[in-house]
Symmetry: C2
Subunit: 101 residues, 2 copies
């Protein structure tokens, strides 16, 4: 893995590392784990060291990639479709609307 | 944006599009928005079309990138440090431990 890790690299990494468990656990069970990591991210945002905070971001991304794998969603395509043409609200690359406050 | 979008591209895209608002909103206010999108992801996992589900994954990624920008965390480095050497529990590229059930 290099400094230029793509979203697809992330999904493939998690697929390789955990897919056997992920398929057994299913979407709802996996979502519970994502929630646990979201809670740990909240705690780290409040009082974690930069290293702890970075690790929690990585865990949230890993579980999000897991759910995307289980649900057969391509994160690269998803981001491209939603944000590749600019802000979904105003289509500007530098948002000038109020869709995202 | 191409098919090979990196995590850094994602952070840069969101930085360009929304940083003026993001800095004003701060970490806690931004986290609330992430939670709203997490709720919409849950709903889409239960009963959304594939297109709706993909859009919700994109929104969660966008808000996660926003918080990382506000908190000055490099997602690429974070994932590399946590998962680049294999599973954090057993160091294997195909996990054989029980750290992640």
């Amino acid at each position: 893995m290099t400094d230029s890790m793509t979203l697809r690299d992330l999904q493939n990494l998690i697929e390789t590392m955990y897919s056997a468990k992920d398929v057994q656990r299913g979407t709802a069970g996996t979502f519970m784990w994502l929630m646990e990591e979201i809670g740990e991210l909240a705690a780290a945002l409040r009082e974690g060291t930069p290293e702890e905070l970075a690790a929690e971001f990585a865990d949230v991304l890993a579980w999000l990639a897991t759910i995307a794998n289980v649900a057969d969603i391509d994160l690269t395509q998803a981001v491209h479709d939603k944000y590749g043409g600019g802000c979904p609200g105003c289509q500007a690359m530098v948002c000038v609307c109020n869709v995202k406050p």
